[in-house]
């Protein structure tokens, strides 16, 4: 079994004390994997992933990255610890040029390494080269997503964490974004993503978890989950264990 990069155990998190949105969720991500977190609307997927990235206060549980406890480390230290996060919306600096968007994220790199690293990102995302002097706000939806991902990858993260990378994109760009993520994994980057678009995400993922009401309720091999009756049930809001519990929930 390959080594575990990200290990999240019994995570509890929420914006207000006493009102947890994430209620004891556990997942693991192994080196080189794409792990997908699915779940119905309001399941707390986004809060779960933001809590891992240090953006939602954690009230319980632990997050280990490469064996190191990063639970509730301040958000700005996450890239140094090896976790790069791509938010769902507003994930680029709109008024800055494409190049400055990349450069501003290079704070943890060696100064002389930066120009070469930027060129590597342009090589990986050729669409961005032509626009390097353009204000990022002028990019198309797909290009914005590319820039956001390139910005996250530029610091050599141990794990790339994405919050619904396909949200708000037209179908053409959706397939482009998932193709891009599949290619990034091929280059050896470990990926954790939360996604509403279950079918497309499962097509590129290795394993997946289903999050319901802030807790991981089911997991499996990504390619098998699409036809898994338990997943369908969870999505419809029926709890598989409800009958057995005698309605105590």
């Amino acid at each position: 079994m390959s080594e575990i990069v990200l290990d999240v155990r019994d995570l509890e998190a929420g914006y207000e004390p006493g009102v947890p949105i994430v209620r004891g969720a556990s997942i693991t991500v192994k080196k080189g994997e794409i792990v997908v977190v699915l779940g119905p609307n309001g399941a707390g997927k986004s809060s779960f992933i933001k809590a891992i990235a240090g953006l939602v206060p954690i009230t319980g549980g632990t997050v280990f990255l490469d064996g190191k406890d990063i639970t509730a480390a301040p958000a700005h230290t996450m890239v140094r610890l090896g976790l790069a996060f791509v938010p769902q919306t507003e994930n680029i600096f709109q008024l800055m040029s494409v190049e400055d968007n990349l450069r501003v994220a290079c704070g943890i790199l060696e100064r002389r390494e930066i120009p070469a690293r930027i060129e590597e990102m342009y090589a990986a995302f050729p669409d961005l080269v032509r626009q390097r002097r353009t204000a990022a706000g002028n990019l198309s939806g797909g290009q914005r997503q590319m820039l956001a991902v390139a910005r996250a990858l530029i610091v050599h993260p141990k794990v790339l964490v994405l919050d619904e990378p396909s949200a708000g994109l037209s179908p053409k760009f959706v397939s482009m974004v998932f193709e891009m993520l599949a290619n990034i994994r091929k280059s050896g980057v470990t990926i954790l993503l939360v996604e509403q678009n279950a079918k497309a995400a499962l097509a590129i993922g290795d394993r997946a978890y289903v999050l319901v009401e802030g807790k991981d309720r089911h997991q499996g091999i990504a390619s098998e989950l699409w036809n898994d009756p338990v997943v369908a049930e969870l999505y419809l809001g029926q709890r598989p264990s409800q009958a057995g519990k005698g309605g105590t929930a």
Partner: protein, 302 residues
Amino acid sequence: MSLQFVVDGLLTGSMIGLGAIGVTLTYSILRFSNFAHGDFMAWGTYATLAVVSAIGATVGKVAPIAPLSFGWPLIVALVIGMAFTALLALLLDKVLFSRLRSQGQAIIVVMASFGASMALRSLLEFTFTSRPTYFSRAIQIAMPVGFGIRITPDQIALLLLTAVLVLGVHLLMTRTQTGRSMQALSQNAALARIVGIDVASVVRVTWVIGGALACVAGVMIGILVQIRPFMGFDMLLPMFAAAILGGIGSIPGAVLGGLIIGLAEAGAVQLIGAEWRAAVSFILLMAVLFVRPIGLFGVRER
């Protein structure tokens, strides 16, 4: 008419512009209008004056650097004064603004800055009295430079100093990682943290730049006009007008806004009378905002 108002306007505009840089940075990065900014100017000027006096008391009388009205003690004192004003701004942020900022309501921070402004000003009056004072009482002869314009060596030196400082801050903002981090924080604070920017350290840099430039602007007023506790407070409205006119967050905008307001004020004094001085800059501000609500260099996010 005489073109003398151009020189007068550029000088007033430089003072306003240097002050407006601090105002525009505080507004765009910390998201509040700092009404105590003018008092940073006054404190910086009095600190510089105190150091000049201290140097004078220790090493005796120092001859001015010809043809200027001041010698090396003022230059050394200005650097110390800038550091002092930067520290004052950092201290005020630590004991007052940062605590209120964490509660998330900008208007409370604005009101607090108004209170801090009054307290700082009263402390100056209490310590130094409200009687005006000067760096030098020597009279400089203004040299004619053609077109009916006369300018003193001090004025030339201070215009050059302004140009150097503005260029320096502009390069810092656009060419360095610190500057890019400041831009990033002003555009999207949450994303700035995600890409690894330590907000607290960027906030400190912002206060240091704003405080140091406020001190320079104050000392310019001290050299060219006079030093008094209200000197900074009286600059507050023109500085805010300049920052808004130029477009909040823009360094070149703040300086250009300052120059426009300085020139308009000086022109108004000459053409329609001194009592219209303040009114003209605000009529201009309203006119620009009517046509272009985001200011001259302001940018709208898409």
